[in-house]
Each structure stands twice: as structure tokens, then as C-alpha cells.
């Protein structure tokens, strides 16, 4: 499903921040990615969710070699990935409902279906009473749940979270992991990156560890 072979990443003329990273994510798997700040976790995730291109190596996503895919194909691949970032990246002038609806609008889903799906999902994540609220008026936990809802509304095959403990307390981060576990049970492949190894130990999932751009694992819980 997701295969990385000897991935390397270098910014401009600097030294490599990722070195010969190889991994294989089976469909329906659940992994943590741990490592200290600056170890290369976010860079690896950015390559995974196609926000950046690797400098070398092969990334095969859903059976497509992304290095040779055209822009239309890359956009279609991104629509099969759900991402929750540390700062949530909600669109500030849109309501919760509109933020969550974005992936479906982008995919060209009919408006009536968007309304139904968004309403149902916001109810599921406990934001039914915040549908018309703007992100700035939400608490950190509500923003996180909005970001999660936006990530999973399109039923992605690959779910990625970058530092879920970074902007909210551990309890809310646990809620996110529990939501991702439910999506995983429905078939989504999950990767969650965090520097907090103690947090990871609370769950029974394998992890990869990255240090100075070198990946090791998977390490069993």
C-alpha cells in the first residue's frame, strides 16, 4: 500500500535530513513514528502526504510511483490521504461545517450528500452544536476534533497525524488516537508521529523510530 525505498531528503545544499529510509505499510496497519524534534519525523510525513518530494529513492503510494505521476494524479492521491497537523490548519474564515466539507467539495461530491455526511460526522465527533462556529472561537480540543473530522470525511485509505500531543493535553491526544483506531478498524492505514514515547507506550501499536534521519523498526509494543 505504501512503500518507501531508500528515500533521501536534502534541502538546498544542506546535509540530508532523511537517509535511506525504507518502510512498508500494509493496508489496515497502525504505526507510531517516534523521534526527537528535528530527527526527521515531519519531513518523512510530508513526503508521505505529498507535501514535499523526496530528493532520492522511490515512494510508491497506492500502487503509484509518485516520482512519475502527473499533477492530476498527485491531487487524486492526496484525496486518498487524511492528515491532522499539529496546528490543525483550519481555514479561519470558514465555519466548522464548511471546513469539514472542504475535502468533499474538492472531490466534487453533490451538495446534499456533503450536508448529510458532514452533519453525521460532526455529530459523531461531538461537534453537532458547533457547526456554524468559526475556528477561532473553538477550544483546542474542538479544533482538533474539527481537523480530525476534516481528515476522515473522505474515508481516506491512509490517515496521518503529526504531533497530536503538541497543541492539546494528553487526554485530548488520546481521544484522537481512539478516533483513529476506529477508522483503522474500518480499514484505514494509520501513521501517527510524536516525540512523546511515554504517550506511545499507552497503546498497543508498533512503532518506527527515527533518529538523525535514519529510520529503524518496526518496533513491537
Amino acid at each position: 500500500m505504501v512503500t518507501l525505498e531508500n528515500i533521501g531528503k536534502r534541502y538546498d545544499t544542506g546535509s540530508e535530513v532523511l537517509r535511506d529510509v525504507s518502510l512498508n505499510l500494509e493496508p489496515g496497519s497502525f504505526h507510531f513514528l517516534t523521534g526527537a524534534s528535528g530527527a526527521g519525523k515531519s519531513t518523512l510525513l510530508k513526503i508521505l502526504y505529498l507535501a514535499e518530494q523526496q530528493s532520492r529513492g522511490v515512494l510508491n503510494l497506492f500502487g503509484t510511483d509518485v516520482a512519475v505521476a502527473d499533477r492530476q494524479v498527485l491531487a487524486a492521491l492526496r484525496r486518498r490521504i487524511g492528515v491532522v497537523l499539529q496546528d490543525f490548519r483550519l481555514v479561519p474564515h470558514l465555519s466548522v461545517r464548511e471546513n469539514v466539507a472542504l475535502p468533499l467539495r474538492i472531490a466534487g461530491t453533490p451538495e446534499r450528500q456533503i450536508d448529510d455526511n458532514v452533519g453525521e460526522l460532526l455529530n459523531w465527533v461531538g461537534l453537532a452544536d458547533k457547526m456554524e462556529a468559526r475556528p477561532a472561537t473553538l477550544s483546542g480540543g474542538e479544533q482538533q476534533r474539527t481537523a480530525v473530522a476534516r481528515a476522515i470525511i473522505g474515508s481516506p485509505e491512509l490517515l496521518i497525524a503529526d504531533e497530536p500531543t503538541g497543541s492539546v493535553d494528553d487526554e485530548l491526544a488520546v481521544t484522537l488516537v481512539r478516533l483513529f483506531e476506529r477508522m483503522n478498524q474500518l480499514g484505514a492505514t494509520v501513521v501517527i508521529a510524536t516525540h512523546n514515547i511515554d504517550f506511545v507506550r499507552r497503546f498497543a501499536h508498533a512503532r518506527f523510530h527515527i533518529e538523525a534521519g535514519v529510520l529503524s523498526g518496526p518496533l513491537l509494543p
Binding site: 491531487a75 492526496r78 484525496r79 470558514l94 464548511e98 474538492i106
Partner: protein, 297 residues
């Protein structure tokens, strides 16, 4: 309904209306469209006026007979002209008519009778016939020494050459105006893209195709271009309604803007300019944004 929903949905993604990047765009486009309209209207009026003058003057010659010439010589020369093959009509202009023609320059306080004005003979010639003007001048001079045959074709040719150059300059100005409009829209689109870069990144991350993101900018540019174009065309229409009747009021011997305000082409131009401005703005914004987005992974 579905189309409106799509347009509406597009507008929601990026808050382009409130970012200020296109605030002055309609006014700039309005000025550009107005100047283009003036250029286009100028080309139409100039071309028509010249054609009208050409039609009138290529078929006309004027013979000036010195005031001192006797009536007998005048009659002889009239006979000579009537007998000339390519001349289709000969008319001796009465002194009163000559006086009326000169009135705009001399005023009505000068006694025309006191001036040694030459007698004018208006000749209508077959425009397709080849006339040997040197021979005709020679024959006329043999009857009335000092008579001058004025062929309007010479200065009409010079006027035509000048007009072609003038038309080229106007066309170049219109092209430059269009280029300036394009650059303005490029600047506005780039500014909008820079302001909304974080949201554009989110849309990109969520799998939006470049065309989807560009579509939002082009939708906005189309609306601003149409609005600016409408203002510019309106100003052009006011100019037409003021200037062309004023030109007709000059009552010159040769008419300017012969078709007047009833000329359909003038109004067609004014009607077509706003959609053209909208289309140029839309395509420019689209291409600008697509080129910028191509730099994203």
C-alpha cells in the same frame, strides 16, 4: 442551480472579496476599457470619415477662374469642360454660394462683392475614368490664362497615408492598454495568491487540483473585469452621445462621423468590451495562478 451552488461553493474557500488585492482592479479596468473604447471608436469614425471624404472628393474637381476673366471666356471654358469625356457634370458656382462657403472664415461683416474672388466651377468626374490632368490644365489655360485646376486626389492620398499611420498608432495604443490591463490583473492575482497562500496550501493538501484553486481566482477576476468593463463602456457611451452629435453640429463641408450615433458598430463595440475585459481578466488570473501553483509539489 447546480452551477450556482458550485460558484457559491468556490467563493467560500478563499476570502478573495475582502482581501483588498482586487479593490482597485475594477476602476483600473474601467479606465483601460474607456481608453480602449475611445481608441476603437476613433478607428471606426476615422475610417468612415475618410471613406466618405474619399467618395466625395475623388469624384470632384474644382476649377478656379481668375476674377478678371470675361464672361465669354467663362462660357468657353464651360463648353470645353462639358465636352471633356470623363467629366460627367459641370456647375458654375454662383458668387452668393461662394460667399456662403467663405462666411465661416471671413464672417458676415466683410462685403464679399468687394473682394476679387475667383469664379469656381465644380466638376463631377467619373471616378473610374483616367483623366490626363496635364492636358486638361493646358487646354483650360489656353482659354483662360491663370485658371487653376485643383485635383483633390493628391491631398486626399496624403491624408490617407497620414490616416493609416494614425490608425496604426491608435491600434498600438489599444494593444498597450490591453497589455497594461493584463499586467494589472497578474499583479492582483499574485497579490491574492500571496495573501491566501496558507489556505491555498491547505486546499492543495486536501487534494484540490490546480484548476480548482485557479478557478476561484478566475471567478473573482471575471466578476471584477465585467464590472470594470461595464463602467468603462458606460463612460464610452456617454462620450459617443456627447461628441458625435457635437461633430455633426460643426456643419463642415465634409462630414465627420457620417453615420452619427446610429452607427451599430459603435454600440456593438461598447457592448462587447465588458465581456472582453472579463474574459481577459479571467484568463490572465487563471494562467497566473496555474503558473504559480506549478511550483508547488
Amino acid at each position: 442551480m447546480a452551477l450556482w451552488q458550485r460558484l457559491n461553493a468556490r467563493r467560500l474557500d478563499l476570502p478573495l472579496a475582502g482581501d483588498g488585492s482586487g479593490r482597485y482592479l475594477p476602476w483600473i479596468i474601467a479606465v483601460m476599457v474607456y481608453l480602449s473604447a475611445l481608441g476603437g471608436l476613433g478607428l471606426i469614425v476615422l475610417s468612415d470619415t475618410l471613406s466618405e471624404w474619399g467618395r466625395d472628393l475623388t469624384a470632384t474637381l474644382t476649377l478656379q477662374v481668375p476674377a478678371s476673366s470675361s464672361a465669354a471666356r467663362l462660357e468657353t471654358v464651360l463648353g470645353l469642360l462639358r465636352a471633356t469625356k470623363a467629366v460627367t457634370a459641370v456647375r458654375l458656382i454662383e458668387p452668393a454660394e461662394t460667399a456662403r462657403l467663405l462666411e465661416p472664415w471671413l464672417g458676415n461683416t466683410v462685403s464679399i462683392e468687394s473682394l476679387p474672388l475667383p469664379r469656381l466651377i465644380d466638376l463631377q468626374v467619373d471616378p473610374d475614368a483616367r483623366i490626363d490632368f496635364a492636358l486638361l490644365r493646358q487646354r483650360v489655360a489656353s482659354v483662360v490664362p491663370g485658371a487653376q485646376l485643383e485635383d483633390h486626389r493628391l491631398w486626399l492620398d496624403r491624408l490617407r497615408n497620414f490616416t493609416v499611420k494614425l490608425e496604426s498608432v491608435i491600434a498600438a495604443i489599444v494593444v498597450m492598454i490591453a497589455a497594461a490591463t493584463v499586467l494589472t490583473v497578474v499583479f492582483a492575482a499574485r497579490t491574492g495568491l500571496a495573501i491566501h497562500h496558507p489556505i491555498v496550501e491547505i486546499l492543495h493538501l486536501l487534494g484540490a487540483r490546480d484548476q480548482y484553486i485557479a478557478g476561484q481566482f478566475q471567478h473573482r477576476a471575471l466578476w471584477l473585469g465585467l464590472r470594470g468593463g461595464a463602467f468603462g463602456a458606460l463612460a464610452g457611451a456617454v462620450t459617443v452621445l456627447v461628441l458625435i452629435p457635437a461633430a455633426a453640429g460643426l456643419q463642415l463641408p465634409l462630414r465627420i462621423a457620417p453615420h452619427g450615433i446610429a452607427d451599430v458598430r459603435l454600440w456593438l463595440l461598447l457592448v462587447l468590451l465588458p465581456p472582453a475585459a472579463g474574459l481577459v481578466s479571467m484568463l490572465t488570473a487563471r494562467l497566473t495562478v496555474l503558473r504559480r501553483l506549478a511550483r508547488m509539489p
